[in-house]
Amino acid sequence: MHELSITRNIVATVVEHARGRKVDGVTLKVGDLAGIELQALRFCFDICAEGTCLEGAELHIEQIPGRGRCLECDERVPLEQPIAICPCDKRARMIIEAGEELLIHSMEVH
């Protein structure tokens, strides 16, 4: 379960930016192809936030759907898995344009 160590990173980064201020909320951007189990992330967040300035903070997660672009036909394809070959018949190469994000977008402080 890598979500635990990822959540530790999230909390540590926010604590650093907050510089002692109380954090009321954190917003993440997580792509559907980032390999993160959101339920596990939420579960870990409260545990990792305990005893820090994030304790009790709300976790908002903005999910970003996966999207690939076929290098052959230039078509945009919605992706549920990070595949590199276009599901279209030609088995053409595809690049992943969206869905691999794993960012701390913002924090709410006072």
Binding site: M1, I10, T13, D24, G35, I85, L102, L103
Partner: protein, 289 residues
């Protein structure tokens, strides 16, 4: 629990060498070093636990993006910070460390039981390169012991509850291991097809093992692991006559996720395909260092 000194903390990472000297890294970054050498069985080693597990994390906390307008009521501050930034930064440090010593590093990954340790045992005996190993496991030094028997330096990193190696653990391992100039370092990751995929260790190449007892669709089920692979080693090929394994389907599955990855079939038991693997290591090393 640390099996060398008995320290108990489920979350810590332990790095140890053959002499029993070892180091713990706590989740907050605190480093505790223990000397394991003076075991005269009179129990004179006092590991007395006088280390304060304080908060001496003195690295990685320096970047401020300067968005903090002090004071005022609750407000939103945009960070757009990469979650993996700290690990990525430490992986860069490893990369620089490798480059400075012309060391070629391979990150070996697979599910448990795919044959990583067995592959390394044979490789360390047969590969004509100076080598050493960073061995990652959740618990025990069993794999490290097996590899040490080949006569090659091995450092064991126990990740405790962690299911993967991270860049800082590899860094700690390297400080103990001190690989020779121009040598090859094999980093045997924790057996797991999910978590290690996300953590850059600063390696030159990623090798993913995929044994034919696992099923042809493994790459489609665990795409994150396979998509970053430079080489996919299909292992346990000696079992092929006993299984209904469709090699073409397996190769297609790899190509769907990782079209640039090379695929090789090997049997550590019979030795088939091993020469190709050694040639690949030498070629990749030459290109990288």
């Amino acid at each position: 629990m640390c099996r060398t000194c008995g320290c108990s903390d489920g979350n810590m990472v332990t790095v140890g060498d053959a002499d029993g000297d070892h180091t713990h890294i706590l989740p907050d970054g605190t480093v505790i070093e223990h000397q394991g050498h003076s075991h005269d069985h009179g129990h004179s080693h006092d590991h007395g636990h006088s280390h304060d597990h304080g908060h001496s994390h003195d690295e990685g906390h320096s970047h401020d993006h300067g968005h903090s307008h002090e004071g005022g009521p609750s407000k939103v501050e945009i960070l757009e910070a990469k979650v993996m930034e700290k690990n990525d930064r430490l992986a860069e440090r490893n990369r620089g460390w490798f480059a400075g010593r012309e060391v070629f590093a391979l990150n070996i990954m697979s599910s448990p039981g795919s044959g990583k340790t067995t592959l390394l045992e044979r490789t360390l005996r047969e590969l004509d390169e100076t080598s050493s190993v960073v061995e990652g496991d959740q618990e025990t030094a069993r794999d490290a012991e097996r590899l040490r028997a080949t006569g090659v330096p091995v450092v064991q990193v126990n990740t405790g509850t962690g299911c993967h190696l991270e860049a800082d653990m590899v860094w700690m391992g390297l400080q103990t291991l001190r690989p020779e100039l121009g040598s090859v370092v094999f980093i045997e990751n924790v057996g797991n097809l999910v978590c290690p995929a996300l953590f850059d260790l600063g390696e030159h190449k990623r090798v993913v093992l995929f044994s034919i007892t696992e099923g042809e669709d493994k790459p489609l089920k665990y795409p994150h692991m396979f998509k970053a692979a430079d080489l996919v080693l299909i292992t346990k090929m000696d079992l092929l006559p006993h299984l209904d394994f469709d090699m073409e389907e397996a190769r297609q599955a790899v190509a769907t996720i990782a079209p640039d990855a090379q695929i090789m079939e090997v049997s550590t038991k019979s030795g088939a395909g091993m020469k190709g693997w050694y040639d690949w290591i030498r070629d990749a090393k030459r290109a990288a260092t």
